[in-house]
């Protein structure tokens, strides 16, 4: 039924795993193209959460009773699973957080406050999500440091020559995204890390869009930190993680204070726990962690390469078709791109376009996608963004094209 050259990738069967896709919106079948914002969840993930609450819900760590032992084991197994998934050396290099945003803030407020001083500089790029801008801005403001920006060309690629020139004796950190949520650019993070390491500077990678679109190997990348969100990779909301090299995590001061992150407490003196617990104060999102583990199982079962191949196919099809249409401008044309397409329809305002497209049951995102600086760079208020996931189809793209034609007609 669904066209794909990807043999062995049973799209029809896969779509059955996602109950939300069976839904109608405004009388049309839901076409969900807002995957860069958040992905839908397969039954395997939803059921893992339900099962957890039906069978082993309990507070983790330190309990002697059966439920607590079971819940703790499931919880720690997922930590190990994530470590394997991104090829971390140790599972204690994985810290659970609410998501990418919190992971970046964690590093800014612990490693950052310890290592970034007045007059220092932090390098980010012109194509970062607000979550990888504002924490560094806040840190800079607090300690009196400043941001240096890697420029991005009109295709949406970072200028690595300019990047090289940004380093000086005041540089303390490089923080860049793996894949741009707005333009889809797959950034050359390995090279970026190499250049930083040539200058003895550690690198944090915002992997919010990296984890969903291919395999990640933190040892191969050699990055010091890698941040990610469960909800962007078919897992639950409210859970994500921070990978940090052991040595870095060890040396970082603790993050939030509370239960779990301490060894002993008196009013005079508190001993902090070992990593990763030192950074996990309070009752964690146990059900979220369990669901995250199920999501990784799900994509690994499908095969990361298969998913990538499918998504690339959708992107190339959509790109080709859109380029045939009059008046469509695709924003972001990097050579190496993930399945995200940002576009403008003539000079029609994205809000107008999105409103009409929604009436065709197609969920696209409009606006600045939390990346205002790159919008300013292009001199536009925002774009219409379609981002594809593992369950999307060419037929759905045809619906989008139809909706775009209608937009042109109505506002033409």
């Amino acid at each position: 039924m669904y066209q794909t050259t990807n043999t062995g990738y049973n799209l029809e069967k896969i779509r059955k795993d996602f109950p939300i896709l069976q839904q109608e919106v405004n009388g049309s079948p839901l076409v969900y193209f807002d995957n860069a914002a958040t992905t839908q969840k397969p039954l395997q993930v939803i059921n893992a959460i339900t099962d957890y609450y039906h069978r082993e819900n309990s507070n983790v760590h330190r309990g002697v009773h059966r439920l607590s032992v079971m819940a703790t084991e499931s919880f720690e197994n997922v930590r190990q699973k994530i470590a394997q998934h991104i090829n971390a050396r140790y599972s204690h290099e994985i810290v659970f957080t609410r998501g990418t945003t919190e992971s970046i803030n964690l590093v800014a407020s612990t490693w950052g406050k310890k290592n970034v001083k007045k007059g220092d500089q932090i390098i980010i790029s012109a194509i970062e999500h607000h979550s990888n801008i504002v924490p560094w801005q806040m840190l800079c403001e607090e300690v009196g440091a400043r941001l240096r920006i890697i420029p991005v060309d009109d295709a949406g690629e970072m200028d690595l020559e300019a990047y090289r020139d940004l380093f000086n004796e005041k540089t303390r950190l490089v923080a860049v995204n793996h894949i741009s949520n707005t333009l889809g650019t797959i950034n050359p993070v390995k090279e970026i890390v190499e250049i930083a390491h040539d200058n003895d500077i550690p690198v944090l990678i915002d992997g919010a869009q990296g984890l969903p679109h291919g395999s990640v190997d933190v040892q191969d990348l050699h990055c010091e930190f890698y941040c990610f969100s469960g909800h962007k990779v078919y897992g639950p909301t409210g859970i994500g993680g921070l990978y940090g090299k052991e040595k870095f995590l060890e040396e970082m001061p603790p993050y939030q204070g509370g239960g779990e992150m301490i060894k002993s407490v008196t009013f005079e003196k508190t001993d902090y726990n070992d990593i990763p617990y030192k950074f996990e104060a309070g009752t964690p999102n146990v059900a979220g962690v369990i669901g995250f583990g199920a999501a990784l199982d799900y994509i690994n079962n499908l095969g990361l390469e298969n998913i990538k191949k499918h998504e690339d196919e959708l992107m190339h099809y959509a790109t080709t078709e859109l380029e045939k249409m009059d008046g469509i401008t695709i924003i972001g044309k990097a050579r190496n791109k993930a399945s995200v397409i940002s576009l403008l329809i003539g000079d029609i305002h994205p809000y107008d376009a999105g409103t009409i497209i929604d009436h065709f049951g197609v969920a696209v995102r409009t606006g600045n996608h939390c990346t205002q600086p790159i919008m300013d760079h292009y001199g536009i208020p925002g774009t219409v963004r379609a981002s594809f996931g593992l369950y999307n189809t060419k037929t759905e793209i045809e619906t989008l094209l139809k909706a775009i034609n209608k937009v042109k007609e109505m506002f033409g």
Binding site: N26, P350, Y351, D352, T355, H359, P381, M410
Partner: protein, 144 residues
């Protein structure tokens, strides 16, 4: 001059003519395009109500105890809805504006555009209109 309720009823009647959402939006687009409401020179920061999705400009003046509004937006649909709101509230007394509940938006099926989280600027625009009404009322009270 018709009251707020009467004007709302007028708009509801107009919208009852539309068979489907497309006609409705075409009408809004028409309204958004055809009525230039605000001078370019007035599209300044101080008149800007920033929404995250679209931007709205609003100005107001008092004449003979009534409040008059002009508005604009960079998005056509937002502008169309803004114009409906202005049509209803412009030329009314501050008290009536303060008390208007504007549920016609709901009745003509555009409620979602007025969701506080839609951030097209329209919710803030209504707040701003009521704020103007309160401000003019207070000023008048002082003068008396």
């Amino acid at each position: 001059m018709a009251t707020i309720k009467e004007k709302e009823q007028q708009i509801i009647s107009e919208f009852e003519n539309f068979d489907d959402w497309m006609d409705k939006y075409n009408y809004l687009i028409e309204m958004g395009k055809s009525i230039p409401q605000i001078d370019e020179s007035q599209k300044v920061e101080s008149n800007l109500i920033s929404g995250c999705q679209s931007r709205v400009w609003l100005t107001a003046y008092m004449d003979d105890g009534k409040l008059y509004f002009k508005g604009d937006s960079d998005a056509v649909i937002t502008k169309g809805i803004a114009n409906l709101l202005i049509r209803v509230l412009s030329g009314q007394s501050p008290d009536d504006i303060i008390n208007a509940d504007l549920d016609f938006i709901d009745k003509i099926g555009l409620r979602e555009h007025l969701s506080p989280t839609r951030s097209n600027g329209l919710v803030s625009m209504i707040k701003q209109m009521k704020f103007y009404a309160m401000a003019f009322k207070a000023k008048k009270a002082k003068q008396q």
